[in-house]
């Protein structure tokens, strides 16, 4: 028997028909939404759908015994190739782990299984007047969001997964189940294993449950937008807002091209294809009014053309749906093109330079690449539209790499929220330096000596010291 056959024989009695070697199922589990391996063989040999932490432990334990790779799979929305089965093995699908065992309104926290989506959780929390604040868009699972250290439009106010997870249940490489953190808002009791697992992309342990920090729903939410004649004015406005300490709820930039795409896709009447900021204010009624006045002042100072605020939930939903559909608007913008999403982050002070240079790079490339950014964090994306031509992918990747290098040159980081996966490993030494990469390798070897947990992911090949 092969190792895979032995694995199936051992696990099938446990999971019944929740195990599959079907080609379509395997192919579905071989990739996320973004980067795909050029190697069509980089697929898992078998897919198992787990429902409990104990099942995950049994599966990982079997993989450990058999030296089989195991790749956790949540919503399948990752963008940097995190689901590529570089050495085959077992895709461990956690999407059926979607129970919410505990909501603690008094503690502003809850415990969810790893397969729960943000939408599912927030639907349930609404009646308690609470919400989970990390919002990467898409139907991501909280487990996947932990694994990639996701953030999104709410991070400027509420932080990323790093700040919104109080504790985890995880299965380690040898099948042991550990609890990290807990139900307390802070703790100083040893190494921060919660923080270590967040952002580890399935390479140090499999996250099966999350103790999440919740926030009270804002008493008032005000949506607003402002258009600008130049990109620099829009970005300067965003940086001024952060530097003024205005506790803005959301702060998003869409450049002229992205606005053009969104106007067409989402029928945004009354908007012109100009650089635009989308705002959301979360506060009490009096504070919202005060903040909106300050916001308007800042936009006017930076030559804003048209500050518009609306307390109407319908108008707000329409605008933010358009923002969240930005990727799909890009896809519809050029027939037959695919999208490659750049993700980089720079210090706030470098934001204007960064976006200006990126815009130049895009123009020089001759490609169409709308820019959309969580500018309050210094984080931005370009959705590079890949022309359906033989050299399309290579041209898009060259542009992507140029923009990433710009971010590094400006003291920034090669990923704000999508992680490293396979796609960005070649920048890791440049980002961190060899010695820090060696520390990461030492941790990986210590916690997964058989290298079964999402092998080939996140860490670049070690360079000997």
């Amino acid at each position: 028997m092969t190792a895979i056959e032995t694995f199936i024989a051992r696990i099938q009695p446990l999971v019944g028909n929740r195990i599959s070697t079907n080609a379509t199922v395997r192919q579905h589990h071989a990739h996320g939404e973004g980067w795909q391996s050029p190697d069509p063989a980089a697929q898992p040999d078998v897919v198992v759908f787990a429902r409990t932490t104990e099942e995950v432990a049994a599966i990982v334990s079997a993989c450990h015994d058999l030296y089989l790779p195991v790749i956790p799979f949540g919503g399948g929305t990752s963008l940097e190739g995190q689901l590529t089965a570089t050495k085959g093995g077992v895709s461990l699908d956690l999407s059926q782990m979607n129970a919410i065992p505990e909501i603690r309104p008094q503690d502003l926290s809850c415990r969810v299984q790893a397969g729960v989506t943000r939408q599912q959780l927030n639907g349930l929390l609404r009646s308690d007047g609470l919400f989970f604040a990390v919002d990467p868009g898409g139907e991501a699972t909280l487990g996947g969001m932990c694994a990639t250290r996701a953030s999104g439009t709410g991070a400027v106010r509420y932080g990323t997964m790093r700040e919104n997870v109080l504790g985890l249940t995880a299965v380690m490489a040898d099948g042991k189940i550990i609890q990290t953190g807990g139900n307390v808002r802070k703790s100083a009791t040893g190494y921060d294993l919660t923080g270590l697992l967040i952002g580890s992309e399935g390479t140090l342990g499999i996250i099966t449950e999350i103790q999440a920090r919740l926030h009270p729903l804002p008493e008032t939410i005000l949506g607003a937008t402002c258009q600008f004649s130049t990109l620099a004015d829009a970005v300067d406005t965003a940086t001024s807002i952060i530097q003024a300490g205005l506790p803005i709820g959301r702060l998003e930039l869409l450049d002229d091209v992205q606005m053009d795409a969104c106007i067409r896709y989402s029928s945004l009447e009354g908007y012109r294809p100009l650089p635009t900021l989308f705002f959301e204010l979360h506060a009490s009624p009096a504070s919202v009014t005060e903040q909106a006045d300050l916001l308007r002042e800042i936009t006017e100072y930076h030559n804003g053309l048209s500050f518009r605020a609306s307390a109407s939930p319908e108008e707000r939903t329409r605008l933010w749906k358009a923002r969240h559909d930005a990727f799909w608007a890009c896809m519809a913008y050029r027939q037959g093109h695919k999208g490659m999403t750049t993700d980089a982050v720079v210090p706030i002070s470098a934001m204007t330079d960064m976006i200006t240079l990126a815009k130049q790079d895009i123009e020089e490339s001759g490609l169409v690449a709308p820019i959309v950014g969580h500018v309050g964090d210094g984080n931005f994306h370009t959705v590079i539209l890949i022309p359906p031509e033989p050299d399309g992918w290579a041209r898009a990747q060259a542009l992507d790499h140029k923009i990433i290098q710009r971010a590094l040159d400006l003291g920034g980081s090669i990923s704000g929220e999508h992680g490293i996966g396979i796609a960005k490993q070649m920048f890791m030494h440049n980002q961190h330096g060899n010695d820090a990469i060696m520390v990461m390798h030492a941790i990986k070897r210590a916690l997964d000596p058989r290298n079964i947990l999402n092998p080939g992911m996140l860490l670049p090949a070690a360079v000997s010291p």
Copy 2:
């Protein structure tokens, strides 16, 4: 030559007269402010005062070669025995590393050497309208605050060291210098080494520089207090404030005994020895007024006796100085007693039960133990006054342990901000479970295979799996 003699011969040319084997200097470096080893021999053999990261690297490298323990020393304010030289070795004093190479007002960040104190930093930042928000009281250094994952009165609004450090420079066990994190507000590029070093109490690496997150000074600060006839009412008020999502700047509880001590020590006229909450509101003028109204409403709902608010900086300073002097007020409260500080944290929902039970435990013990708490975080301290009697220390420790066990029983944590050191290792298995402790040990072995970095600290003896 002994290893220590070899070390001195190797390092003296580098640091000149900044190296000492003087008995008084060694004794001073053998302890913090709190827990002290009953073993008077647990002193370093030699003390070195470093001024640069490169000097630290050379010192650690020498220790690595010679298998010598190295114990980082900052402000000497730790409370759980973190400075005990369990195996002798080198005390590495970083207090002369007090340069502030970079302040970046636009990025709301700065870079400081590890020996910089909060007071020094905030003095310098004032002219830029910025401040560093973590405030543990005392003359702690930022390096030490990182090492113990410190927090304090501002954490309820601004978070702990975990949330306020963007990146670190650290010297690892082999003397290699690494950079973690950076100048960006978020990043998803590999294992969170910043987070791993924060709270590691010098056992994984020596922190030499800190990239700190800054906040704009609040436009308006309002101080307020309210006294209550029962402790439960005071705690219920605090929990209601958090659950209402009021973005309070500080929220501190002093019980009747602590108030009695503070009234005497700090001449707090007009206050009675009753359970009291100290508040601070940080916001714009309009928001502060609105928040103060809500605050008053919540205190009234919970039978507050006397809500008093004051925008006067002098009055606010007087009150908060009294709060920060609480420990010294306790010391002055009973002649000839020493203090043992309990540090525990529970879920917000368990706060009233916790404080009520702790109060009972104190009464049953027959000891005097004022309670002071960062109740917005669920974190509280009792300063147990150790009677100058043969069994005084044992009685105090028994009470301390009883309260810690209560916190564990209520789903809490054995330390909110003082860390583990030597004093709390016996609770670590209970807190985390054996398998998580084994993971911590694996990390320690991987990053410090010779066990030279603050050996004997933080991690309890490994229990084989």
